[in-house]
Structure formats: structure tokens, C-alpha cells
């Protein structure tokens, strides 16, 4: 296998995920006493230190890859054989190729900054150690997900991040709503994971039937072509496999129909929202599609589904974000919407563009979340934007960074979000799906609107907080503002990696990605700059409307809220009643099914069991009668007969020796007589 031959062994790669695991183990086992004896400083330093070292190692891996020839860029470390059963061979092996190099830099880099931020944000929490244990464990799981060189190891990380997400959303579990949100995230994710594992099964099963059994990515890449033309019940195998995998992606990456858990996940501490629910975990689905791009490229039907779902999710989430008043809910729906963009990119075959947006989004969305966390910190836990306002002077570090990140996500030229989003819009246009392109451009305008609405409501105008809160307004400590500055800087410069027309980022990922995106004709290329101007224009329209409604105040938001009898406003505010719909159909339906099953179990199944028992009891009582009267009777008759015969025969034994002698003599005489008569007769 050519893929095998090019792999370069690099043992230190294994340390990248194992260091955070070690940190999690130490904190999990010794955390409480460590925190009591050595203080929170050491706990925080340990957690940040492991991730920081992982980041350094990731940079080393990146530099080593960069020094190699483009086609040979693969670092591999095979720790030990894991599952070798029949034709299935999976090792615990970590591989760094250009794609996973990007991911580990994001996870350890941004993750490390968020760790640092959390030491400030969570400083007053009693369960400080537990929080960092989960964060480290999460980092380990996420790194396993992106570094695992086979589907099964990826699935381990996939489940691991879900578990840590559950633990972190419900971190303040003393409030029931938080615990419920954690459960919701976990259960919704499980539904997706079910599809994911079905996809793995189907993929391995069909490959096995074609005698190419493998779950290792680089071998899959070589051999997946054998699936071409195979069909199962009239559906092509690649289509079926990728659809199942995409179900998994909708769960983890919060797409229609499984996006409902992400907004609720905001119940967790804000660093968690930034790390897990914006920068890393939710991008796992995008990463998975990028990792298996060669497989998805074989299934145009699936790509169409992904593009459509992505665009619709982007639209739906953006329209909900327009009216939310909770500072974190706006960002949550914004995240869902931006993930929709990434899936749209994947769906039109622009895999590199999707991953590029993943990276830039990680920077500016982490910055936004951490900024909102800083605001919440300053406001003493208040999350309602209607009670904020005019904070820009009070928060001299939070405001500029938040503003830069907002410019980036809104698609203002020159910042990261502009380049990555525009690339997606352009590729969508090239794919010829005009409907999706219109949706995507609309969403770009909506994004600019709701983000600036947030900025105006939080940082401009008069402060609407009560007197007590206003007095306690303060900027966050430097452990929290430093990550903000770094992330804001990243939100600016990261975009230039993907500067068109010769994107460095795309070139970096080229060895991993198949060429599926529509080849740009000259006519279409000529459209790039006009289209760019269009999307920028729409973004500025959104900003301008936000300014009119929330900045200058010339246009009353209420006049839009009452449009069409207020129906669109209420739909958006109540999230299109999707949660209620799911509650009514899926949750209650499941409960009804449970009750039905319980009733069925109690009456029918138990009835059958009890009936069977009664029948057996009846049959065995007949058997008992037979046993008692026939079998036992025969035995007793034999015994009684023996007893009676013995009673008669015992008389023979008189105990008198002379009587015995008489019998002996008579016997001998009788015998002699018999012999005699016989001798005479013959």
C-alpha cells in the first residue's frame, strides 16, 4: 500500500493526546486534595500546562510536515494493536496529516487559550478541579477524534467528546435545568451516533464482502473505489454509508433535525460554550466529512442532502438568532448557522473551504463567546441583553476584541470571516445551486444584522442595568483578557491564509482532499469579485439596519415585530416551536410507546408467561398422580410382597442347631436317594 510506505514514524505525536489525558487522570484522582493543599493555581497550571505542551508538540508536528514533500506528509505512531478480530484490524494509532495538523493546532491552540481564560472565569468555583479535569479529558477525546487513524478510534473520541460535553453542560448540576440540558445534549447526540456507527458497520461490512476489509483511513482512501456501483435495495452503497455518517454529523455538529441540543448547551459555563460548543466539538462532523471526503465525493446524492441541510440550518438558526435576547443564545444560534455554512461547503464539494471556515470560525466564535463570558462576569451573571448597554467604556479590553470578532463573523472585508465565508458563497455559486446561493447570501446579511444588534445592545447606548450592578462593573482579570486579544488577532490574520485566488490553506490541504469542487471556468472566475461585492453589500445592509434599529434608534424594532400580525416575530422568538414539536412528537411519542410497551409487557408477555406456567403446573400435577400411584405403587407392592414372603420364610431359621442338622441329614439322604433312583433307572 502506497499510503503505508509514505508514513513517517514520529513517536512524540502520541504525546499530543496523552498529555491532556494524564492531566485529566491526575486531576480526577488527586484533584480535591491537590486543590485543598496546593491551591487552585497549581490545578489551573497543571491543566493549562498539559495543553500548552501539546500545542508545542502540535507546532513541531506541523513544522515537520511542512518540511516534507506534499504527497508524503503523514506522521504516524502506532501505539499498540487494539482490536484484531477476524478481518477487522484496528490499532491505537495516531496519524498527523495536513488536515489533522490543522485540527490539532486549533484544538490545542484555541483550547489552551480557553483553558487559560477559564482559570480566571472559574476562579470562585468550588469544583475548580473537576472543571479542569473535564476540560483536559475533553481535549484528550477531541485530539483522539482528529488524530485517530481509523474509524473506530475516531468513534472513541467522538463518544468521548460527547461524554465530556454532557459533564460540562451540566457542570452546575445543582440547578435542574442545567442537568436536563446536559441530558438533552447527550441523548440527541446518541441518536446521531447511532447513525454514525451504522455507517461504520455498513462500510466495513461491504468492504469485507469485497475482500478489502479495513477501517484505517489511508487504506480506505486506496480501496474505497471497490464500492463504486454496489447497491443495497437500489441505493448505492457509498450513498447509504455517507448518509448514515451524515446522520452522525448532524447530531454532533448541530444540524437539522438534531440541532436542538446546542442552544440548550449554553447552560454550561461560558468557557465550555467557547471550547466545545463553538470551536472544537461541534466541528467534529465537518472534520469527519473532510476526513472521508473521498467517500463523500463518490455519493453526489448525499452531497446534495448535506448542502441542502446545511443551507436550511444556516437560514433557520440565523432567523432564530435575530430575536433572541440572551447574549449566549444569540451566539449559540449563530454557531448553528455558521456550522450550516460549513456543511454547505462540504455539500458543494468545497471541502477545503469548509475546513477553512471551520478554522476561522473557531477563532472569532471562541473570541465572541469568551467576550460574552467576560460581559457576563462583569454583569454579575446577567445574560439578558435588554439589561445591558453602554458597556464599551467599562470594558476596555472586552469591547474592542468583541467588536473585531463581530466584524469578522459579519463578513467585513479584510477579516478572517470574510475570506472563508466568501469562499463558501463562491463555491456554492460555482456548483450551480442558485437556490442555496440565495439562501447563503441572505444568511450573510442576517448574520451581520444579529451580530451588530448584539454589539449595539450590549456595548452602546445607555446602560439599562440596575444601580447595584452598574457600581460593580469591572473589567476581567488579565488571564481572561489575554486570550481575547490573541483570538481577536487570529480573527484578523487567519483569513490571509486563504487569500484568493491562490489560497495557501487550500494548497496545504490539497494532498488530503479529492478534487471534487466544480472547476471554475473563466466566466465564472470573472464573477468572483462581483459576487464578493454583493455579499459585502448585503453584510453592510445588515449592519446598517442593526444601526438604525438598535444604534441610532431611528427605526423602532417593534414596527418589525408587529409585521404580519407579529407572527414571524413570535415564530423566531420561540425558535419556531421546534422544541415543543419534538416534545409533542418524539419525546411524548417515545413515552407513549414506552407506556404501550409496559402495558404489553405486563398483560400480554406476563400473561403468556403465567399461562405457560399454569399449563406446566397442570401437566406436572397429572405427572405427580402417575408418579404417586403407579410408580410408587409398584415399588410399594414389591416391598410389601418381599415383607410378606420374608415373614413366612423366617420361620425356617429356628435357631436350634439340631433342627438344622435334621434338615441337613434329610437333604443328604434325599440327594442320595435321588441319585440312586436315577442310577437304577439308567
Amino acid at each position: 500500500m502506497s499510503g503505508e510506505a509514505h508514513a513517517t514514524a514520529a513517536g512524540y505525536v502520541a504525546l499530543i493526546p496523552l498529555l491532556p489525558l494524564g492531566g485529566a487522570l491526575v486531576l480526577g484522582l488527586l484533584g480535591p486534595s491537590l486543590q485543598r493543599r496546593a491551591g487552585k493555581g497549581l490545578v489551573g497550571a497543571l491543566a493549562c500546562g498539559t495543553v500548552a505542551v501539546s500545542f508545542v508538540l502540535s507546532v513541531m508536528a506541523f513544522l515537520q510536515l511542512k518540511g516534507m514533500e506534499a504527497e508524503h506528509r503523514l506522521l504516524l505512531t502506532d501505539l499498540f494493536p487494539w482490536i484484531h478480530v477476524g478481518s477487522l484490524k484496528a490499532d491505537v494509532a495516531f496519524a498527523v496529516d495536513p488536515l489533522s495538523a490543522v485540527m490539532i493546532l486549533i484544538v490545542t491552540g484555541i483550547g489552551g487559550l480557553i483553558h487559560l481564560y477559564a482559570t480566571g472565569y472559574m476562579h470562585d468555583d468550588a469544583a475548580f478541579w473537576r472543571f479542569f479535569m473535564y476540560l483536559n479529558l475533553f481535549t484528550f477525546a477531541m485530539l483522539t477524534l482528529v488524530l485517530g487513524d481509523n474509524l473506530l478510534l475516531m468513534f472513541v473520541g467522538w463518544e468521548g467528546v460527547g461524554l465530556c460535553s454532557w459533564g460540562l453542560i451540566g457542570f452546575w448540576h445543582k440547578e435542574e435545568a442545567n442537568a436536563v440540558a446536559g441530558n438533552k445534549a447527550f441523548i440527541v447526540n446518541r441518536i446521531g451516533d447511532f447513525g454514525f456507527i451504522l455507517g461504520i458497520f455498513l462500510l466495513f461490512w461491504t468492504l469485507d464482502a469485497q475482500s478489502h476489509p479495513t477501517v484505517v483511513f489511508r487504506e480506505l482512501r486506496e480501496q474505497v473505489h471497490v464500492l463504486d456501483g454496489l447497491a443495497f435495495w437500489g441505493v448505492g452503497i457509498p450513498t447509504l454509508v455517507t448518509l448514515f455518517l451524515f446522520v452522525g454529523a448532524t447530531g454532533k455538529s448541530a444540524q437539522i433535525p438534531l440541532y436542538v441540543w446546542l442552544p440548550d448547551a449554553m447552560a454550561g459555563p461560558t468557557p465550555v460554550s467557547a471550547l466545545i460548543h463553538a470551536a472544537t466539538m461541534v466541528t467534529a462532523g465537518v472534520y469527519m466529512i473532510g476526513r472521508l471526503n473521498f467517500l463523500f465525493a463518490m455519493a453526489p446524492v448525499t452531497l446534495g442532502v448535506i448542502a441542502t441541510i446545511g443551507a436550511l440550518t444556516a437560514l433557520l438558526a440565523a432567523s432564530i438568532a435575530l430575536t433572541q435576547t440572551d447574549i449566549k443564545k444569540v451566539l449559540a444560534y449563530s454557531t448553528v448557522s455558521q456550522l450550516g455554512y460549513m456543511f454547505l461547503a462540504m455539500g458543494v464539494g468545497a471541502f477545503s473551504a469548509g475546513i477553512f471556515h471551520l478554522m476561522t470560525h473557531a477563532f472569532f466564535k471562541a473570541c465572541l463567546f469568551l467576550g460574552s463570558g467576560s460581559v457576563i462576569h462583569a454583569m454579575g451573571g446577567e445574560q439578558d441583553m435588554r439589561k445591558m448597554g453602554g458597556l464599551r467604556k467599562k470594558l476596555p479590553a472586552t469591547f474592542p476584541t468583541f467588536f473585531v470578532a463581530t466584524l469578522a463573523i459579519a463578513g467585513v472585508p479584510g477579516l478572517a470571516g470574510f475570506f472563508s465565508k466568501d469562499e463558501i458563497l463562491f463555491q456554492t455559486y460555482l456548483s450551480g445551486r442558485t437556490g442555496l446561493y440565495v439562501i447563503a447570501v441572505t444568511v450573510a446579511g442576517m448574520t451581520a444584522f444579529y451580530m451588530f444588534r448584539q454589539v449595539f445592545m450590549v456595548f452602546f447606548g445607555e446602560c439599562r442595568a440596575d444601580h447595584h450592578t452598574q457600581e460593580h462593573l469591572h473589567e476581567s482579570p488579565s488571564s481572561m483578557t489575554l486570550p481575547l486579544w490573541v483570538l481577536a488577532a487570529g480573527s484578523v490574520v487567519m483569513g490571509y491564509l486563504g487569500l484568493p485566488p491562490a489560497s495557501a490553506f487550500e494548497g496545504w490541504l490539497e494532498p488530503v482532499m479529492v478534487h471534487h469542487a466544480a472547476e471554475a471556468s473563466h466566466a465564472a472566475e470573472a464573477m468572483e469579485y462581483p459576487l464578493m461585492a454583493l455579499s459585502v453589500g448585503i453584510a453592510f445592509c445588515g449592519i446598517f439596519f442593526a444601526y438604525l434599529m438598535y444604534g441610532r434608534g431611528g427605526v423602532k424594532p417593534e414596527s418589525f415585530a408587529n409585521l404580519l400580525g407579529g407572527l414571524p416575530y413570535r415564530l423566531s422568538l420561540n425558535k419556531f416551536y421546534v422544541d415543543e414539536l419534538y416534545q409533542a412528537t418524539v419525546v411524548n411519542g417515545t413515552l407513549a410507546l414506552c407506556f404501550l410497551a409496559a402495558w404489553f409487557d405486563r398483560t400480554i408477555i406476563d400473561g403468556i408467561v403465567n399461562g405457560a406456567a399454569a399449563v406446566v403446573r397442570g401437566v406436572s400435577s397429572i405427572g405427580g398422580l402417575f408418579d404417586r400411584y403407579v410408580v410408587d405403587g409398584a415399588v410399594n407392592v414389591v416391598a410389601d410382597a418381599t415383607y410378606a414372603v420374608g415373614g413366612r420364610v423366617r420361620r425356617l431359621q429356628t435357631g436350634a442347631i439340631s433342627a438344622y442338622l435334621y434338615v441337613v441329614i434329610l437333604g443328604v439322604l434325599g440327594g442320595v436317594l435321588l441319585y440312586w433312583s436315577w442310577a437304577v433307572a439308567s
Binding site: Q653, G655, A656, I657, I665
Partner: protein, 103 residues
Amino acid sequence: MGELTLNHFVVLSLVLFSLGLFCVVTRRNALGILMGIELVLNSANINYVAFARYGSVNYDGQIFAIFVIMLAAAEAAIGLAIVLGIYQSFETIDVEATDRLRG
């Protein structure tokens, strides 16, 4: 007449055997029974020696007679030991009284 023939010995043996048997059957004393058995055995001895003398079977008969004498001695020793045991547990050697094995 005058000369002893095999018949004389056989008749003697028969008489002796009958007396011994009668003794064994009728005696109630265990010692008496043992004595009767001695008579029966000795009648057999006479038979052995007589047939050995008048028959043509070399010395087999005499040797058998010696075996029987030896056997009788052993039998007497064991029999007397049994009688002693009976006496110790029954305080009597009347065989009519020792009917504990009666069915």
C-alpha cells in the same frame, strides 16, 4: 470267616458314623455335639485307611487320614473356643438356649 475283610471295616465305620451323627443330633450340650463330630470324623478315617489297605491307591488314604486328624484337632480348638465364647455371653452351653439368631 476268621479273616478280616473290607466289609468289616466299612460296617464298623458305618456304625461309628451313625453313633456320631446320633450324638450330634440329639445332644443339647455343645461339648457333646463336638464329641459326636469327632466320632463322625474318625469313622471317615477308618474308611480312608481301610480302602487304602484293600484298594490299590498307594498311601493316599493314610495321608488323608492324617490330614483329617489334624483338621479334627484344629476344629476341636476352634469349636472349644466358640463354646467358651458362648458360655461367656449366655452362662450356658445348652444349644437350645442359644437361639438368638432365630428368624
